[in-house]
Amino acid sequence: MSTAAQRSPLPIKLLTNGFLIFWLILAAFPFLWTLWGSFKVEGDFFSKANWANAIFGRLTVEETGGSFTGDGYYGAWIQEEFWRAAMNSTILCFCVVTISLTCGTLGGYALSRSTYRYAFWFLFFALIFRAMPPITLVSGYLLPFYEWNLWGHLYTTVIVLVAINQPFTLWMLHSFFKNIPKDLDESAMVDGCTRFQAFRHVIIPVMWPGVITTGLFSFLLAYNDFAVTAMLLSEENQTMIPKINSFLGTTQTKGNVMFAVAAVVSVTAPLFVMVMVFQRQIVSGLTAGAVKG
């Protein structure tokens, strides 16, 4: 359904569509290129002679016999034990998302229902905390964590990430709960429920769309974090992102940057699937904060 105001003359149509295609190439091409290149040998991915080698894999054929090779993946996952990092990442993300959402729904619900002034101040401070760069907080953690032997453990990092995540989670869930009519839980309370029972039996069944969206962003924060995980985890507890960074330090000298390329593709794949499945929720989450101001 297009109204007269939306109809555009041909040159403008060409211009906008041309621009769109340009942007799509910009957005997607780097990933396709790296995915393709991760099955080649280093001499092809970084080709001194001709960049086209990365497409046709001349050296890959010479060195391995086939035009695709899984050496990078074997090296990263088995030889350098990337699977361990992947397991740590899974545990970390699962715990962070669960704990964040549990605390966040309780807090966000209370903030959306309270009419007192302090609820505003609570959100205001959360906004200030959201602005803190995580690395500045990390320099505050190190000394006490060393002193109390908390440094290096996975669960310490989980709690830290949950805390850093809280301001954002609270804001987002607060705006979702605002959209759930007050009458719903208030009528349950008139019928004799306590506040918690009203929350448990009336709000929880209808809150899932908002919780799923917020959960996706909590997951992204935990999965994508580098500053906190790189500084607070010991080597055997490392998650995938700091592990990739350590590949760059150690394996580039060995001439095996392909391990890092394979690891990068492995890290990207789950995110790719996530966007594909939850596109609608991610979009609604990005706009939720904006619409509420």
């Binding site: 991915f45 760069p133 505050g140 596109q279």
Partner: protein, 340 residues
């Protein structure tokens, strides 16, 4: 909601934020006022046939014992803030008094690590933020005017640079920009200079980092603006057209005012996120050409000897920077919310 119930509902969140955000800020401020104990020196007198001589050596055991007993170190007041690695007051004063021109003074400043990091951080923040908003706006307008069927896939691909791990996304770009990668080779061909390398040139490195920044966050601006465009009042648009407004005027006087609150929202989030620019510099291995405040803290913390008080001082300065940067927005938010 009753005070008591409210308290118990927000208690877990409040406790977490108090312990792991508010307390670390206190801890950072404290650490920045102390420095690590110096090594304990002892004088030993060695006597030999030709007389006695005293040598000083480090008493390892006493040093360790002292450092363990007082992990915070000794009181230093504002010394750490004023030393060469941070505000460098004496160096700045000297550069000012011996300056030949204003440019000379600024290049003197640029040689000091803190000001170098600050210069890049601010440049990055104030170039990337507006560019992100502009690019995001154009993508939103373009997507909004294409046929419905292609919008879904377009949004899918557009989201990728935003959702991707920053460290990974910048690595992907960096490998392509490598002199032996496709973009690096393309640049050499364009500039007709086979020795051109992004890694070796400071201006190119800055540009590459900023391009990454815009590429990474444009999708966010796009999605927000795109959602805003869906709610533009079609009647207003059509009546503007009937009144003789051309395409540009319709965008200027109907669409822009409608999107303005969204622009402030995106600008707020982008200022916060760009000020902490960190991962791309790590992936681009660009520390020699560009450092940011976050990178300065990270290098202090990550070295063999962890320079905790130096990192803490930079952290405090960064927090003050964030506060100054966001104060106008915070005041606005405060006023807007104060109304209801």
């Amino acid at each position: 909601m009753k005070h008591g119930t409210f308290f118990w509902f927000v208690f877990p969140s409040a406790l977490l934020m108090l312990l792991f955000i508010a307390m670390p800020i206190v801890s950072v401020v404290l650490q920045s006022l102390y420095v690590q104990h110096e090594q304990v020196l002892i004088e030993v007198e060695n006597c030999s046939l030709f007389g006695c001589e005293t040598t000083t050596s480090v008493d390892q055991e006493a040093t360790r014992a002292l450092r363990e007993a007082e992990p915070l170190g000794r009181w230093a007041g504002l010394d750490v803030y004023l030393n060469r690695a941070h505000l460098a007051t004496s160096e700045v004063a000297e550069a000012w008094s011996t300056r030949e021109s204003l440019g000379d003074f600024f290049s003197g400043l640029y040689n000091l690590p803190f000001y170098r990091a600050l210069a890049f951080t601010l440049t990055y923040t104030f170039i990337v933020t507006p560019l992100t908003i502009i690019l995001g706006f154009f993508i939103a307008v373009a997507v909004n005017s294409t046929i419905k069927a292609v919008r879904g896939p377009t949004i899918f691909f557009s989201l990728l640079p935003f959702v991707i791990t920053p460290l990974v996304g910048s690595l992907v770009l960096f490998w392509m920009l490598d002199a032996r990668g496709i973009l690096g080779a393309g640049l050499q061909w364009l500039a007709d200079n086979p020795d051109l390398s992004v890694k070796a040139s400071t201006p190119l490195m800055w540009i590459a980092l900023m391009i990454y920044g815009v590429w990474h966050s444009a999708p966010f601006a796009f999605v927000v603006f795109y959602a805003g465009l869906q709610t533009v009042n079609q009647d207003t648009l059509e009546s503007a057209m009937i009144d003789g407004a051309n395409r540009w005027e319709r965008i200027r006087y109907v669409v822009f005012p409608h999107l303005l609150p969204l622009v402030t929202f995106v600008a707020l989030i982008q200022l916060m996120d760009n000020f902490r620019v960190f991962e791309p510099i790590v992936s681009f291995a660009a520390q020699a050409h560009a450092t940011s405040l976050s990178i300065a803290i990270f290098t202090d913390l990550g070295g063999e000897t962890r320079l905790l008080s130096s990192a803490a001082a930079t952290s405090v300065l960064t927090i003050i920077g964030v506060a100054i940067l966001l104060s106008p927005v915070m005041v606005r938010t405060y006023r807007d919310f104060g109304k209801d």
